[in-house]
């Protein structure tokens, strides 16, 4: 037996993660408006400015904002080490990330180089600040577990993904895109989605799935090996993308290896969820299972791609399965679990109090179920959108309604927090202090 260190610093105030979560739905609404503003079908051509802008509204404005906000809470809760100067770090990262996430899609959609030139330095600052603060937090963590390793690798992937992203934005802004822009873009997408997004979800799932969904733990061998194996496979793929050796079979093998590992994670998670101890319907669990099913479908499609006849838009389909099917589903599920927990925890933390609402009362579950059905319908429409223009409009409508619904749910939770806090401060001294 070993005694662990006893001191931890204060967890961040609730405003630190909540400000990120509260703003994120706005970007779903913006993505919808950008898609609706295009008279053609933006999904028919991945290089259309409207699709580029809408994609960055979702990946940068929604997903990165949620992930950066969640990290400020996850680091102290899961590995016992908050970010240094948490309020200051949160303000700095929030302002630069949100400004950059507004300007970059605006620059793409409006074809305004000036906006791109404002966007990329802000995003560089945001990610640099976030990565440095997160790495310091990891370095000071008393925990040495598989989640810490996965988070570290996801941050390294993020750092590596930012470089081609900035080069591309600068190239677009100044009209100096190099002939290698296609390869840079592929490396940027691979590192962002296959590295930062996937590895963070993998690492957090090791904790969140058993904890909140009452499943058995992931097998130890899997938690130790999966994130480093995914990272190594990703690096191999990126090197092959950048240097493009003559042996094309090498890329097929490397891609298959990466997607097989993704499939392993999805299957392992679905199997664990099938063995959960409490078999009650739960919208957040259903979001998570939808995400894992979509990741498994994406993995199967990606592995089968080299064997299939050439059909237009299959790679767009793969991106939709990964982005909307896997990543966005999991993020919605996590938000609906994390936000009520945060509100409840910050109300309860002063001690035992009557009048603190039950966690299930903070965001009414019927709203989560409505959101789940809406998200399923949006995903279905998006999967048809590359071939069917009307489905692209339905996808945009789905984003719009999801943004409004999520904003309503999050502001309802914030409102419960404020009302309850005001009442508790007026009526109750702390009984155990």
């Amino acid at each position: 037996m070993k005694t662990v260190p006893l001191n931890t610093d204060q967890a961040p105030p609730i405003s630190v993660p909540l400000r990120f979560f509260a703003v994120a739905p706005l970007f779903l609404i913006l993505a919808a408006l950008v898609l609706l503003s295009d008279s053609d079908n933006p999904f028919a051509d991945p290089h259309m400015p409207a699709l580029l802008a809408a994609t960055h509204c979702i990946t940068l404005g929604f997903m990165a904002t949620v992930m950066v906000g969640a990290m400020q809470q996850i680091l102290p809760v899961v590995i016992g080490s908050p970010m240094p100067a948490s309020r200051l770090t949160a303000r700095f990262v929030f302002l630069s990330l949100i400004s950059g996430a507004l300007l970059l899609p605006a620059g793409f959609a409006l074809g305004q180089p000036l906006l791109l030139n404002f966007a990329w330095p802000l995003l560089l600052l945001a990610f640099l600040g976030f990565i440095v603060a997160s790495l310091l937090s990891l370095a000071r963590s008393p925990a040495h577990n598989a989640t810490r390793t996965a988070i570290l690798l996801s941050l390294l992937a993020l750092g590596a993904a930012v470089v081609p992203g900035i080069l591309l934005a600068y190239g677009y802004a100044t009209g100096t895109l190099s002939p290698d822009a296609g390869r840079l873009a592929a490396a940027h997408v691979a590192l962002m989605l296959g590295g930062w997004v996937l590895l963070l979800i993998v690492g957090v799932s090791y904790q969140v799935v058993p904890m909140f969904q009452l499943t058995p733990s992931y097998p130890k061998w899997l938690t130790v090996a999966l994130a480093p194996a995914l990272f190594a496979a990703l690096l191999l793929n990126v090197l092959l993308l950048l240097f493009q050796p003559d042996a094309a079979w090498l890329s097929v093998v490397a891609q298959s290896l990466f997607w097989m590992l993704c499939g392993c994670f999805a299957v392992a998670t679905l199997v664990l969820q099938g063995r959960r101890r409490r078999r009650v319907a739960d919208a957040t669990l259903s979001f998570f299972r939808l995400g894992m099913a979509a990741l498994l479908c994406a993995a199967l499609l990606a592995i089968a791609l080299p064997l299939l006849p050439v059909v237009d838009h299959l790679e767009t389909l793969l991106a939709i399965l990964f982005l909307l099917g896997f990543a966005m589903s999991v993020m919605h599920g996590m938000l609906y679990k994390i936000v009520p927990f945060l509100v409840w925890f910050h109300l309860f933390r002063g001690g035992v109090k009557s009048g603190v609402p039950n966690m299930k009362e903070i965001i009414p579950e019927p709203w989560m179920w409505r959101h789940l059905w809406l998200h399923r319908a949006t995903l279905l429409a998006a999967l048809c959108a590359p071939w069917w223009g009307a489905a692209a409009r339905l996808t945009a409508l789905g984003f719009l309604l999801q943004g409004l619904l999520l904003a309503y749910a999050l502001f309802a939770a914030i409102s419960v927090y404020r009302r309850t806090l005001a009442r508790l401060e007026q009526t109750q001294p702390n009984p155990i202090a």
């Binding site: 037996m1 070993k2 005694t3 006893l6 904890m211 009452l214 925890f345 933390r349 002063g350 202090a433």
Partner: protein
């Protein structure tokens, strides 16, 4: 501080926030010179902040089965 009694609480396998709620309720009724011995399936970092804020000392020991034993008492 001398401890006169030791209460035990096992919250292994309970979903959040039940472990936290049960620990806080147990502490609220804990006699001044007693200690609470908690067994929990994961290390509850957020609990430590709350314990410190409310004047408790604690001592965490990882167990061989992956769970944790936490001894909580009033700060001296």
């Amino acid at each position: 501080m001398r401890e006169r009694g030791l209460q035990e609480l096992d919250v292994c396998g309970l979903p959040p926030p039940e472990p936290f709620e049960r620990i806080m309720h147990a502490l609220a009724s804990l006699p001044a010179e007693s200690a609470l011995q908690v067994r929990i399936h994961r290390e509850p970092y957020p609990l430590y902040d709350v314990l410190r804020d409310n004047g408790y000392a604690w001592h965490t020991t990882p167990l061989a089965d992956g769970s944790y034993s936490i001894r909580i008492s009033r700060s001296a």
